[in-house]
Symmetry: C2
Subunit: 462 residues, 2 copies
């Protein structure tokens, strides 16, 4: 039995990627239209793995899968799906199936599902929830998107701060059926429902019944305001090793609780956003998007890049007479641009990451800017020597060698500075530094690189 749990049935031995033969069995069952077999195969899998499978198969296969099995889909699978695929799946489900599926979920997962629905379907789903749950979901939806209020679950386990361990345990036994699936603390509240501390379940279990709860509260206790950005919440979980955090409204009253598994999912999403934005890919793009959708998502960034590339070309055009004279310049030109672009990207990525992890702040920004400048100059000197010699040997001209050497120092120093100053400035302006920094930085390095190299060449060689 333990053997079975070490390597979950649907995953292969190299780790957790979906097992290929399991996927093939599912595909066979779909193609055979064998609903019974399909249901059996999918029931054995974790909802997160079923969701991955639905994302990985093509559009047509997914529609067949839904036709043969869609009525059995459960809410957890819907929760696990990427937004794009989820919208498509939800659209294909009859109202009754959707309402049924949503019933099993905790309020935070229902909110996550419902917030993207069109109004008429949202009303149908909300209408089919029990009154208490419906109100909870509607209240959550009243908080801004990406806020703690949307992320939290409203099912909280709290106790008056004057209770003893025994009173709390008796209360939990009575409440059994109404408790959330997962909770890690009992939150102590004062008579106005303001949280004043919390007790871990481990301490509650191991302490004597007579002890007051107040005497075993955790030092790590902190709360978050309901309108805090979810990225800040995830940062706090990671920074302070939190497991669950009470959420309070503007009057400091307890309104919900956020648990670490949700914070971990947010952290993962924020990572995805950063890495994709840095590469000029829309943050909400997904592997299951069609070619047409993907083209539309990537085109705007390429268009911006084209505009900046044309700007760089205009700089080159300024010097077309010197290039016509010395074609070696056209040969060497891309080296200056490429080195500048790379050095700028290094500096930029470190800065964007450091801003995200709050390691780059007002206290150290100037020291880091200084460091980047020195790094740019040092690397510039190294590659100035290398490229000076390469150009001398290649084209037999000390002058061309000298020109590319100086251009290399100038460009790598400017690249390093742009790499840090651009994202820091964007952050100050309230723009996500991952968003357009890449274009700005490469525009600067291209323009400065070409200008330094060709301009110097014009002075020295003509």
């Amino acid at each position: 039995m333990a053997e079975d749990t070490v390597e979950p049935a649907a995953r292969d031995d190299e780790g957790y990627a979906l097992q290929r033969d399991r996927v093939e069995q599912v595909l066979l069952a779909i193609n055979a239209g064998d609903s019974a077999r399909l249901g059996k195969l999918l029931d054995q899998m974790h909802p997160a793995d079923v969701a991955d499978l639905m994302e990985q198969v093509g559009d047509k296969t997914r529609q067949l899968l839904l036709r043969f099995w869609g009525r059995d889909i459960d809410g957890e699978i819907l929760s696990e799906l990427d937004e794009g695929v989820r919208a498509e799946v939800i659209e294909s489900l009859p109202d009754s199936v959707l309402s049924e599926a949503v019933l099993d979920l905790e309020s935070d997962d229902i909110v996550d599902l419902v917030e993207d629905l069109e109004d008429d379907r949202k009303d149908i789903v909300l209408g089919s929830l029990p009154a208490a749950e419906r109100i909870a979901v509607e209240q959550a939806l009243s908080w801004p998107e990406y806020s703690a209020g949307r992320l939290m679950q409203r099912e909280v386990v709290s106790a008056p701060e004057h209770w003893t361990v025994g009173q709390a345990i008796d209360f939990l036994r009575r409440e059994d059926a109404r408790l959330p699936d997962q909770f890690y603390h009992v939150i102590l509240v004062d008579p106005t429902m303001t949280p004043t501390g919390y007790v871990t379940l481990g301490k509650l279990l191991s302490s004597s019944r007579k002890l007051p709860l107040k005497s075993i509260t955790e030092h790590s206790f902190r709360t978050v305001p309901v309108d805090m950005d979810e990225g800040e919440v995830a940062y706090a979980f990671n920074q302070y090793h939190l497991i669950s955090v009470p959420v309070v409204d503007h009057d400091d009253r307890l309104v919900g609780v956020i648990t670490i598994d949700d914070a971990m999912a947010v952290l993962d999403d924020e990572h995805e956003e950063d890495i994709l934005l840095l590469a000029g890919v829309a943050e909400d793009s997904s592997l299951s998007d069609s070619a047409m959708e993907t083209t539309k998502l990537r085109l705007p960034w390429l268009a911006v890049n084209l505009a900046t590339a044309i700007l760089a070309s205009l700089v080159i055009a300024l010097f077309d007479d010197v290039i016509a004279e010395v074609v070696a310049l056209a040969v060497l030109m891309p080296i200056v641009a490429s080195m500048g672009g790379n050095a700028g990207t290094q500096s930029l990525t470190v800065a964007v990451r450091a801003i995200a992890t709050k390691d780059l702040t007002g206290s150290n920004v100037w020291r880091v800017v200084g460091r980047e400048l020195v790094v740019g100059l040092l690397n510039g000197l190294v590659f100035a020597v290398v490229m000076g010699i390469v150009a001398l040997l290649w084209f037999g001209s000390g002058q061309i060698g000298a020109v590319i050497a100086v251009a290399m120092v100038v460009n790598l120093a400017v690249a390093a500075l742009a790499g840090i100053l651009v994202p820091v400035t964007m952050e100050k302006l309230g723009v996500d530094p991952a968003l357009a920094s890449g274009t700005f930085v490469t525009t600067v390095t291209d323009v400065v690189g070409f200008f330094a190299f060709l301009g110097l060449a014009a002075v020295v060689l003509l």
Copy 2:
């Protein structure tokens, strides 16, 4: 009081970045050599925030801080420090202070601290631990780096599978002082110490004492082998919403437990690694590295880039006669290269991220490759038309317009293909796809871009 917890004292109201005036107070106390004031300020801060502050101040300030306050440093602060700064701090601490600091930590944190120490200091620290703890740390160190065995804590809370809820609670009360600070499950074991299920503390608290533990075990139960890679472990936590996971040895015996806060830290590290490697920055670089260290870490990547840039220049050199004839080609050349590089980076980043999240697998790789090719062709067509017209208007030559249009389609299609095929191939070869994919992809796009553009120009224009 609640007010105080909403915004922790050392953090400002915009969120969790270190509060600037707190940092300034600390700096003042350091400069005044006021140990008492310094100790008071730092004691009020969370260890993770003290660690951030130590990373953010300069080298000299950090040395002063350690001189006035180093003897009071606690193990948790050491645990929170970046590896580079930590090595420097540990080196400056007397053996007695280091041994004392380490005593407060759980075994997984001690392992994390001790694994990077030099042998003689490692022996001193290990020698000062209580025997049971020392053996636990030594056993953990016998597992490979970055394995579940290094990540887990050895303090586990387990119970025989035939116990009742009441027996488990009585056991926990007796064990109080010996229980780990944080635990979320009681793990059920059979007589050979093989884990067979687990019970959440919430269920234990809310169930009647007579119930057998077996009747309230969790469906989500799974174990991980002690030699599993920590990245896989973190993936499993995120995918299956786990909170803690028992770790088993090769005989399926329980040897430790991994909790979600450690998995979250690993997920964060893996992301940092991906984003930095994609930008050609060594994964272990840190904002607190000196300019010289940083230069050394970034130089190798720039050197590789120089080699590939020279390769691209050699392609240009093949066509120097046509450039000498038509200088417009030198002006337009960087546009083709830049568009190819950007399209390749888009495709590459999506692929690297999808491989990391296991969304790109054997089941869908060919469909995704096909999609990328179509996307490349579609974007290529759009920008072929745009650049064809721009070139025609700019240089008054339909031939140059036609040449750049065709080159654009070829280059964007090749960029899209290289962007996905390179990382997929590296993954197959067992190399981290984030590592050198960037260089390969831009080399392909530069070489193909220049060759297509200038080669066509040579045929059409000469």
